[in-house]
Symmetry: C2
């Protein structure tokens, strides 16, 4: 890594939002990281600059053909005032995998990590101190070429913006009700489900709307082919504990490989808890429930870390899981992961990266 990252400091510092009650996704720090791509130069001019609007031609490809990918990770402040990132190299790896699917040129993952650390150093005051709060990091790439011909762009911009966020669980962890979506499809083999790309997300709003109307907080997605096999929950991966064994859908070509998911699998293996990645039918989960063997269910993702499922609804069939309480294993996973992320528990896995 030889490239230097220029820093232009902002002279107009914004007030920080009230730490007790930060709405997700609305506040952004004073600086951002930007890097451009052209066919001739490749990725060039990595720089940290004041947070500012983007100006693009109306014909910029991002507005027409969806060539864009993103990531989401967090920086945490430890009790002894250090700042930690959680497995950030996995996010840049995944960003490049997403880009590959969407025909976007790969970035230098090491440079991206160096840049992120530098950006957070510049913005260290924006990493909240209040327990449960954190600094959400949003790397993203957009196709900027002004051309509505249907072909991959020859110019892109890679950016990282930072947003302080409140605790996902301000009132303690409450298991949520989930609604099985059997009409809308999130992703299908051969599609873009394995990539974190914009089109997957807006496409999911209709199903979320329906879940909300019916009084559930999120959607359980089934496979797009047979509508029988479990894929994800909202925008989280999903795990079930059945008769002492933990199962989660395998990486089948349509689900996203979560960093939280991979960390949980590693933790469970380390703890000697049986954990299996395989195809899981919804029917199988109902049968385990009927036999009294469905012990816990939870979603996993950067935002919530662990989101216990208290109820699962599939038309006439309804399950109340673990009496709508957070399970013992879910709790242990949550405490361990958040403990490592915030530096309260020793990081035996070398997952955290100090800024």
């Amino acid at each position: 890594m030889t490239r230097t990252i220029e820093v232009v400091h902002s002279t107009n510092k914004k007030p920080k939002p009230n730490a007790d009650n930060i709405a997700f996704g609305k506040y952004f720090s004073d600086h951002m990281f930007v890097m451009d791509y052209s066919e001739e130069k490749g990725w060039y001019d990595p720089r940290i600059v004041p947070y500012a609007p983007i100006t693009l031609e109306p014909s910029a490809m991002i507005f027409h053909y969806g060539q864009t990918v993103f990531e989401g990770l967090k920086a945490y402040r430890t009790p002894d005032d250090r700042i930690l990132l959680f497995r950030p190299e996995k996010n840049f790896r995944r960003l490049n995998l997403s880009s590959e699917r969407i025909s976007i040129p790969a970035i230098d993952e090491e440079l991206a990590l160096v840049a992120l650390k530098k950006l957070i150093e510049v913005e260290k005051e924006w990493v909240p101190a209040l327990e449960g709060n954190s600094l959400y990091i949003r790397p993203f790439i957009i196709a900027t070429e002004p051309n509505i011909n249907l072909t991959p762009a020859n110019s892109y911009q890679f950016m990282m913006i930072l947003s302080p966020v409140g605790s996902y669980y301000k009132e303690g962890i409450k298991p949520v009700g989930i609604y099985v979506e059997d009409e809308y499809t999130r992703a299908v083999k051969g599609g873009t489900g394995t990539a974190k790309t914009a089109g997957n997300y807006a496409a999911a709003y209709k199903a979320q709307e329906r879940a909300t109307e019916k009084g559930y907080s999120q959607v359980l997605w089934l496979d797009g082919v047979e509508k029988k096999f479990i894929e994800e929950v909202g925008s989280m991966n999903v795990f079930f504990k059945v008769n002492g064994e933990v199962i989660t859908p395998e990486l089948n070509g349509s689900i996203l490989e979560g960093v939280t998911r991979m960390s949980i699998i590693e933790l469970l293996k380390d703890w000697g808890v049986p954990v299996i990645e395989r195809r899981i039918s919804l029917e199988e989960i109902y049968q385990a429930y009927d036999r009294g063997e469905l012990e816990e269910a939870f979603g996993t993702g950067t935002a919530a870390v662990i989101s216990p499922v208290g109820e699962l609804n599939w038309g006439q069939r309804n399950m109340v899981i673990n009496n709508r309480e957070m399970g013992e294993l879910s709790r242990k996973l949550y405490d361990t992961l958040t403990g490592i992320q915030t530096g309260k528990i020793e990081d035996r896995y070398n997952w955290t990266v100090e800024v």
Copy 2:
């Protein structure tokens, strides 16, 4: 329709591109139509303004979650110097159907048509006179709210931009070679295939890349579930003439309903040519080919109108259709449709709208 559309004239007129050789999608006229949406006001402030860049926050939802839809249609100059649109109300209808799928608020379709006519009046010099050239119209909507929370936006912008385009067939119509894609999937039932939304298009680049590498010009898409049934060709609908009968995939929840497709079906019915919309397996087409009954195949869309298929390749199985020549029916459809569009043939169907 009572709303007035304000017009701000550009003082800086651009030169027009050389009519003999206009690259698709790179040139834009001097003005554009813009209209904003907010939750409080609904769609407001419809206006024609000088063509100019868009400025958005880096957190604008369009950059993250893909809430965007678009359309594509053309304005044609007739030999007696009138300007015609081809079934533009169908495009605004489809825009709203796409928006519905992507949780974008509907626009007033009548207002959009009035606005488009007014915009083209202002830009009438941009409608090319050279035979085969036309003015491509790109209406699109983007989510503008600066918020990375995963939820439908509360602000949007609707725009229409105009791009002069050259003839699709500068060297006469040549049937193309098509490659059957059996790994990547364009769309699946319950997904977004019926909507003209950005995410569908970037997702198709990988397959197009592979087709190009193998020497074919476009991809034939199969259904996402069984990978057996024919859906579309590139970004066109597809028709086959088998033993005197014309067949085309039915509107099955994953293909886009093309305006060219619907016009062709209406023409054929009017001509007394049997035309059937139904599920079509690729196997069936090969069998018809083996029996010597596959007479013609063609894609249909606004850009090419009719694109005859001269070769269809599916791994080891290869078909050369109609001796790589344009079929009689394809030719008649092409001549009739382009004749109506450009005012050279009487429009008995009331399809054209004069500006």
